[in-house]
Amino acid sequence: MNLQEIITAVWPRVRRKHLFPQLPTPRVGENASTAAVEMQHKQIVLNAAFCEQLAANMPLEEVVEASLDHGVAHYTRCPWDFATHLRLHAAAKEVLQDREMAQRATDAFIDVVADTFCVKEFETALPQLYKHLERGPLATAMAALYSRIWGIDLESAAPEGLIRRLSRISYLDRTQWEKSMRRFCRLIRPILEEEQQQEEGMSSAPLGQHGLGGHSQNEVEQGLREFARQAANPREFHETVADFAEELAGQGYTDAQEGMGRGKGQQLDTDLLYYMKLAESYHLPVRKAPLQRSSSLDLYAHAPWELGKPIQDVDVWTSFGKILPGLTQTWLRQHGEVVGRREGVPDCIIAIDSSGSMTNPRYLLSYAILGAGCVCEAYLRHGAQVAVYNFSDAPAGDSLSLDFTTDRKRIYQSLCRYFGGGTALALDEFDELRRRGRRSVPDVFLITDMAITNLEPLTAYLSQTEGRLTAVHIGETEAAVYFKKATAGWKNVSVFAVTRKEDIPRIILGQVKEYLRPGQRGV
């Protein structure tokens, strides 16, 4: 039997041991550079050379079964998902302060958990496999650890004190993994440093490294979102996620600017990614408003259906239930021009204060950017467009305007720009941007600490404008009190205070006291 046939024969048994995980049948790696066991798009790939090499010491079938046990246990036990992988890596990085060492330590820890789980739960040839693997300094220590915690002699020796301490870690207790990881890293640090100083560099995990390859795009998205929620600040997120920058770039998470000319694109902007993923976790409600032009596409006429055209828009009533070219009719759609009571979500201008009194988003979580990001998500979700006016000392040139768009990346780039200067809003610039709205009157979302030098002219300007205004003030200041008092009687304004992250979901966009009608204004 060749290797693929052995895999096919062994696979049902492996699946059964692991309680039938939804994974496709593994395959043999096509090129020699493939790791011993690798997960590619949920499919385990075994390296033929690796299997054949070990087959000199044990039956090939056992090599395959043990390798598959190892690969499946990563999927079913540890790391399980990308968020867990990131958390473990963050814990390792915290102790080791070095990317390469943290990655190696994370790989080693994940392997100990997955393999120990297999040895405890069912019959596996993993101990025999480890007995015959080639070993660097860390792999030698790990084999000695396995001998101790599995009770099977793997013929490996390491300092007794180290193994005694390593064997006291609760590898199988998922709730303790981060704490265990820190302890594990402190103990193996001297070995990692020794490996790093070797000429050939750090060894890789004997059965393959772990990275993004084992997770689907959706899982990576979800993992980043979860990790952004758990990270204490953007810096913590940055320090961990930047270690995966190359792999993330491979999945399309680059921040390269499209444009003409030559030159290397910018690296992944983890701060932007942090706020984007964090904002995706919140769902702010947007109240609908009467619109002259709806954002939705409405049915307006029939056209004959032709072969190759999609059938979703077929009008069954005028097609006599038949799908026949010439007879079948499809609906044509266009942007609805509606006047009167039709409701929809208008476009939105986000005015965000990035002056020195606001938090620098690179070091600490900026509620302003998170809030603005949530607003952006809410409007884009409804098919509306978003414009950004980012200001510090705008009359002195510290401002940035982004025209109405649905390009999330450009919106976040504009939101994450931090000027850190004084605070004044250039009303003419803002007014010009507001007038560029293509559909009806845009909503305005203002997020600031209200320490704006021209707050009174701004308030006067806003009192003259149509459209709904949602103002959010970060912290309670005298200026915020003034603004609340000044706008108390207006019908198109809602004011929210944000002092903690938890306040953000309480914002309701476009929550006005009553809908605006042409000619009707709040005082």
């Binding site: 039938f20 069912f122 019959e123 915690i149 064997s167 590898y171 704490k179």
Partner: protein, 228 residues
């Protein structure tokens, strides 16, 4: 009709005990008993420990700590794990700097093994009285900083502090060596009778050194050597 879950019926609970289970269970049991002993010490002695100026309080509290751990058979690794418990402790009692130091000292003095590494880096408060009465032949390596009275009344052991120490470092030292890689606070070497204190950083002030030697780097600062 085929039951899609039919195959699951054949799955037997294949779990078996591996040595890791026994190691973890034994570790948890000992740690629990050490924590119970510590709480007992707190209950009995906390009022006295607040008033350390009372001369009898310290030996009495130490005797209580020794009594609390007398029944527990622990190893050097258990002592180190107890430190990790302190690091993650949310309870007020576990974070008490004086009693926790005295309890750790009692554990270090009793445990079998010559070298003990304690990681105090992540602790919220500094541990006082660490290395109290450390006997000859024991070596205590502290990763992080200690509080006041480090190496108090030491009886021949060696302490290496890879951080700073508070005030009264080496107070009443009889024999042995204290090495502080960072700075030491006020009244360093107070009432020292013998032994050696070496501070590689700065010393806040020296106490009344009655015997032994205090070094600042390689320079002997107490007793001051007369130059010819």
């Amino acid at each position: 009709m085929v039951n899609p879950f039919r195959e699951f019926h054949a799955i037997q609970g294949g779990r078996r005990e591996i040595p890791l289970d026994r190691i973890i269970a034994s570790k948890d049991l000992i740690l629990d008993r050490l924590i119970v002993g510590y709480h007992k010490l707190i209950e009995e002695e906390v009022h006295n420990l607040v008033w350390l100026v009372d001369h009898g309080a310290l030996p009495r509290a130490y005797a209580a700590a020794e009594k609390a751990i007398a029944e527990v058979n622990f190893t050097v690794e258990d002592v180190e794990d107890f430190c990790f418990t302190l690091e993650k402790a949310d309870s007020f009692a576990l974070a008490l700097a004086g009693p926790s130091g005295l309890y750790l000292s009692a554990m270090c003095n009793r445990v079998e093994g010559t070298e003990i590494s304690l990681r105090l880096k992540g602790l919220k408060s500094r541990v006082h009285l660490l290395g109290y009465r450390l006997p000859e032949g024991k070596r205590l390596i502290v990763e992080g900083s200690c509080g006041d009275f480090a190496g108090a009344a030491m009886e021949g052991g060696e302490i290496i502090v890879q951080g700073n120490t508070g005030n009264w470092t080496g107070v009443g030292l009889k024999r042995g060596k204290i090495t502080v890689e960072g700075n030491a606070g006020e009244r360093t070497g107070e009432w020292m009778e013998g032994g050696e204190v070496q501070v590689k950083g700065r010393i806040g002030s020296l106490g009344q050194v009655q015997g032994g030697k205090v070094y600042l780097g390689d320079l002997q600062v107490a007793p001051v050597r007369e130059t010819t």
